[in-house]
Amino acid sequence: MISLQEENKLIDRILAGKQEPYARLVENYQRFAFTIALKILNNRPEAEEATQDAFIKAFHYLKNFNRKARFSTWLYRIVFNTAVSYKRKKRPVLSSIEHHDRADEPEQSLEKDDKQAFVLKAMDKLNEADRLAIQLYYIKEFSMDEVAELMGQNMNTLKVRIHRARQRLADELRKILKEEALTL
């Protein structure tokens, strides 16, 4: 990770016309940005493309970045908006294929742990905003502030959303387990 001071120096150099320091910023934030895009798009190649677009956009609009917020917060918002617009553009056929092609979920562990598979199944019942909020909340590298900021919500709304989403997941899980028990 790079420090805030180093980050500011890199931004100054980029704004002065140098391109190479941007590689350092991309390197530093690529995993965070890619994770956000992946959670929204559920498709690795598409998430990678959206993340790349977001980084390119951020580079071109860097002069508009006011340093009141952190660069990461500003970048994550761009990634979020880019991924959401990718999702909107996505054709329905592609979307239904991707629904079953969840590349980010290791198949082996799904087989190993039925409960995990059932929780993931229950996740599908949540609306998109709840699902994204809960997924990012559990990634310890993202702070609650960052998740709220990138989703354009205030902290209290986000907390309630996450709380209710977990309750809904538990309800769905119980329902699924009950159904499974009946089919045995």
């Binding site: 941007y22 690529q30 538990a170």
Partner: protein, 175 residues
């Protein structure tokens, strides 16, 4: 199985997040010992919590940084106005300016003249005791200024949506 109230659910989630302590924690533990439905609910919430807690950062492909750096200038970023919308706006501005010029040449605004007496404007009257001068307004002059502003706007739109992207593309093609 009895229905768990939302407030109890909230406490169970706080418990899983490690936010409960002291008397509240002891109280919940006691309740858990005495209620099988509460235990079952905690187990379901715990299962959800455990699965989600495995979430981690994902990595893009190894060549990602290089690809971003190579493509930094490959994509041209449209301005807020797309070329199509820019051209439409440009045509609209030019048509409006053209109509005004035709009307001016026809002499429609030649007779539009008037005097606005500031003494008649009530808020001004309230704050100024002495009498204020009257302002004469020439309709033709006002319309000429509007036409001028329209032409400036037309030039800005033309520059932003047509000229700049065109020259940027040309410069890119020569690199």
């Amino acid at each position: 199985m009895e229905k768990i109230p939302t407030t109890v659910d909230d406490r169970l989630l706080d418990y899983l997040d490690g936010k409960l302590e002291g008397a509240t924690l002891q109280q919940l533990k006691k309740e858990l010992e005495n209620s099988s439905s509460l235990q079952a609910r905690l187990e379901t919430l715990r299962a959800v919590h455990r699965v989600l807690a495995h979430a981690k950062l994902e990595s893009p492909s190894p060549a990602f940084v290089n690809r971003v750096m190579q493509n930094l200038h490959a994509v041209s970023f449209p301005s807020a106005l797309s070329p199509r919308n820019g051209l439409l706006l440009l045509v609209g501005v030019m048509v409006a300016a053209g109509i005004l010029v035709v009307m001016i040449s026809a002499g429609i605004f030649d007779q539009v003249q008037g005097v606005v007496s500031l003494d008649q404007v009530s808020p001004v009257k309230k704050y100024f005791q002495q009498s204020l001068p009257a302002i004469s307004i020439n309709g033709k002059l006002v319309i000429n200024i509007i036409v001028g502003l329209n032409l400036v706007l037309a030039f800005l739109v033309l520059d932003k949506t047509v000229l700049k992207p065109f020259f940027q593309r040309r410069a890119g093609a020569h690199v």
